[in-house]
């Protein structure tokens, strides 16, 4: 596996898994508008994932984009652990998405300047959509945090729980460093300062307290995951596993 293949796969995996989580809200949204919003965001995520998987499939001729999405096991997925944690309630989904959207905005901004033309083009495309996603999650986070006592308490609790998954977003491993030196990858570490600014200013508006860094989860890049990913894959991949190459 080339470094570029793995790097591309990681981006695709985070989009796919978050897209699948958003799709779980379909027909279960708290209001019709939010149901539609989550389904739209889910579609954007699947579309973005597809673009990156198609590119990964070009880099490794033996696999198609569908093979990559549907025929890999848990340990072969390289997404951020944050995107696989469960939706739970609406506020929990909003907190998770907000933290990840803020990262995506900065990440795609930088990736759109990559020397790899395909990654740069896919990033520029994704960036337009992610801006919209961040606006949506930001508005809701403020409404929930600065809402009722109960909505504030629930949002704060989710924030405290999910915080442990934020450090992983900024990690750099050998592959990242190698491709960063080649002008292809993003310097994730360097995004932290700007991410802190976005997060801090929104949390202040939302009357939520930024949690202290405590135990911080890690491992997504190496294929190590939370207990939730296996269940998600079992549902998402069922059809292709049970009926290989099924078409309709």
């Amino acid at each position: 596996m080339s470094s570029l293949f793995t790097y591309t796969l990681r981006i695709a995996d985070s989009s796919l898994i978050l897209g699948q989580r958003m799709a779980e809200w379909c027909a279960k949204g708290p209001t019709l508008e939010e149901d539609i919003a989550f389904s739209n965001i889910s579609l954007d995520m699947f579309g973005q994932a597809n673009g990156f998987y198609e590119y990964a499939a070009q880099l490794d001729d033996s696999k198609s984009a569908d093979d990559l999405a549907f025929l890999r096991n848990e340990r072969e997925f390289f997404n951020h652990q944050m995107v696989e944690i469960e939706n739970e309630h609406f506020g929990n989904t909003i907190v998770r998405n907000f933290l990840h959207d803020a990262f995506n905005l900065l990440f795609y901004t930088k990736l759109s300047e990559s020397k790899d033309e395909t990654l740069a083009a896919l990033a520029a495309k994704s960036l337009k959509e992610v801006k919209y996603h961040l606006r949506h999650s930001t508005n809701w986070l403020i409404r929930l945090g600065d809402g009722t006592e109960e909505s504030n308490a629930k949002a704060q609790k989710s924030l405290d729980n999910i915080w442990q998954f934020t450090a992983e977003l900024f990690e750099m491993d050998k592959i990242d460093t190698e491709l960063l030196n080649a002008g292809i990858a993003v310097d994730n570490k360097a995004l932290k300062l700007e991410w802190d600014k976005i997060v801090n200013s929104t949390l202040t508006k939302a009357k939520l307290k930024r949690p202290e860094d405590g135990y911080m989860a890690t491992g997504g890049k190496k294929g190590m995951h939370t207990e939730y990913l296996g269940f998600l894959l079992a549902e998402m991949q069922f059809l292709q596993r049970a009926y290989p190459d099924a078409k309709w």
């Binding site: 539609i36 973005q48 673009g51 495309k125």
Partner: protein
């Protein structure tokens, strides 16, 4: 000869409607980026509106059917991502078609397509398709869709 056929292909593509908004064609939508000829094959470059828009797959199929029905078999559809699709590529004529169809066209001010009022309120950033948001007019009280600027 090929140039003549390229013009013909553009004309044909201009008859393929957007699957969701049938009053405008895929050319008017701005997703057909180029038609070129190489190695005895016409290459039609298409850019998606939104990454995950299901209409993209649908209009690719429609394009294939349209060209084949008109005797053009040596063509290939190629997806291009750069430059990313923008609503800036829509002409004023296209925007007018959207307005008449009841969709507020992309613009800085969201104007009600029913009564032309500028007093409109956002109901939801997301609509029935990826490219639209939901609005309501404060004057005529009609809800309507707005084609988002991206």
């Amino acid at each position: 000869m090929q140039n003549g056929k390229i013009n013909k292909i553009w004309e044909l593509l201009n008859t393929v409607p957007d699957p969701e908004i049938p009053v405008i064609s895929v050319v008017e939508l701005g997703v057909i980026r180029d038609v070129t000829f190489a190695n005895n094959c016409y290459i039609i470059s298409i850019t998606p509106t939104y990454s995950g828009c299901p209409a993209v797959k649908a209009f690719q199929d429609d394009i294939k059917v349209c060209l084949k029905e008109n005797g053009i078999a040596n063509f290939e559809l190629k997806i291009v991502y750069s430059p990313a699709w923008t609503t800036d590529w829509m002409t004023d004529t296209t925007k007018e078609k959207l307005r008449k169809y009841g969709i507020a066209p992309p613009s800085d001010t969201v104007i009600c397509p029913q009564c032309d009022s500028e007093k409109t309120i956002l109901i939801s950033d997301f609509g029935a398709t990826a490219c639209k948001a939901l609005y309501k007019c404060s004057d005529c009280l009609e809800p309507f869709e707005f084609f988002k600027c991206i």
